[in-house]
Point group: C2
Amino acid sequence: MIKILVDAMGGDNAPSVTVQGSVEALANDKELHLILTGRQAEIEAELSKFKYDKSRLEIVDCPDVIDMNDIPTEAIKRKQSSLIAAYWMLKKQDDIAALVTAGSTGATIVGGQLILGRIRGIKRPALCPAIPNSRGGVTLLCDCGANAECRPEMLCQFALLASAYAEVGFGIKTPKVGLLTNGTEEHKGDPLHQETYKYLSQMNGINFIGNIEGRDIMMGDCDVAVADGFSGNIALKSMEGCGKLVLGVMKKEFSSSLSSKIGYLFMRKAIGRMRGQLDFDKVGGALLLGLKKVVIKSHGSSKAATIAASIANAAAIYRGGLIQAVENKLEGVDWK
Amino acid sequence: MIKILVDAMGGDNAPSVTVQGSVEALANDKELHLILTGRQAEIEAELSKFKYDKSRLEIVDCPDVIDMNDIPTEAIKRKQSSLIAAYWMLKKQDDIAALVTAGSTGATIVGGQLILGRIRGIKRPALCPAIPNSRGGVTLLCDCGANAECRPEMLCQFALLASAYAEVGFGIKTPKVGLLTNGTEEHKGDPLHQETYKYLSQMNGINFIGNIEGRDIMMGDCDVAVADGFSGNIALKSMEGCGKLVLGVMKKEFSSSLSSKIGYLFMRKAIGRMRGQLDFDKVGGALLLGLKKVVIKSHGSSKAATIAASIANAAAIYRGGLIQAVENKLEGVDWK
């Protein structure tokens, strides 16, 4: 049995999609036990629409909700919110494995640092989504927004954290690590990235292949793309914007004429697979790496299927022993 | 008559595509006069394949070539290269309007600064490509790689330069300017971007709409996206990588089954338009803004059509009076 917390009130369409996603996840994994935090009456109203195994789902009533306009450091003092209550339970109850939230990114990061806490030796947690790549696999982008300002040792730790995630979460052996800069040559980038390059070249426990450019993320030339949170966020959202444009154009063009509509009937499957390749949420949210337990931040606009995928992802990462893998890797490195 | 220099030896497939592109550009614009710099014998061999108006094309023989492995500051001392010879002519001959090159980005920037020179008052030139957006127009991304390290006043000048380009090159009145950061809120970003935000908010001559995220570039929520060259480059290449993945998947999926192949026959036009929407080169290269004359850097992998588009773009920008427009805008700003 794996116990996972779900912040039922987090995200644009909560609690309807969080509840539906939870029910789907429960059906897909008989080992799962879910604890939903949030407004009990609203959650129960949503739950009443579905059949599910009631013995594996419990609700913890939290009257308060954090929204996108709250200041994270203030918001986490309000212990009655669904996210903060979940963090306290995650910290205090040894039998709970993970937390999934589609709520405020800022509050998720701050709560992770201040309530749950970091793995010993880790300086900062980092957000790490899995980006679909042209090899049909994923490239882990770490950090993509938790740390707008970084120092070289932080980027080195991101490399280590994401390498452990690649191994445990995706079964990639000795994952290839690239440093995201503005060119592939060694001297590229600003002083932060030039210095980081030197450290990464000498570091144990990772397989550093050198600098990479933005296009290499989706081309899949490496398994882990290490980035400061500022440019990592810009990379992620630039790719999302491009994907969104493509899906929009597809929708428009494929119904633009009778001929296109007929063509669409023949190509439905192929187009469906194309859409799948651009679905940034298919692997289920971004892992908040570096914390003492597994925390997954799902997109604010997550659908039920995304929430279900995030929960399944959290379970898989827990089963794979992520935290232990990170601790093992940390032991091998002399941080000086 | 507009005289434009073409670096015939620049790019991966020079001089064949540069010569073919030049011939196409000549045919499309009867006012154009082109000067091709490079190895005369090779250029003549390529030219012999085409019919063109010989009175409007001349060749300046340059035996030397700069390649991607040359160190820019060293390479520009070799005055016999096609790019450097072109820069000297551009500087010295008042009747030459512009330069188009698909050669080394580094040498193009260094040559622009050290030979041609900057517009009075401009601190650094910036590379500015036009990105296709979901409104069917373009978003200008400035800087996308000329300056890995920036100060706030440089970013403010990029805003001004790209605004002039948007007005002159694309007829956009009071173009909307966004600052590319890791979130839309005012306090987002590192100290560089937080400080830049303050300056942009108070600046004359631009229409600042606030911070934007990576996805807003292709969504087209602004006309000008101001970026430091490091993260601007990452944004550009991340979008290119996504576009490349989509085109690759399309190619594969649309021939994956008999049904898909039949569908393709019906959808050919729609798919062609989709491809067009992802074609980053359709407007013809990135403008190197801030120099005393119009310089366009076309992709190293440019095809003949891209070179032709870059030449046409250079002519249009010259006709629009870009340099004068920049100087006018500069006069209105108190740089303190």
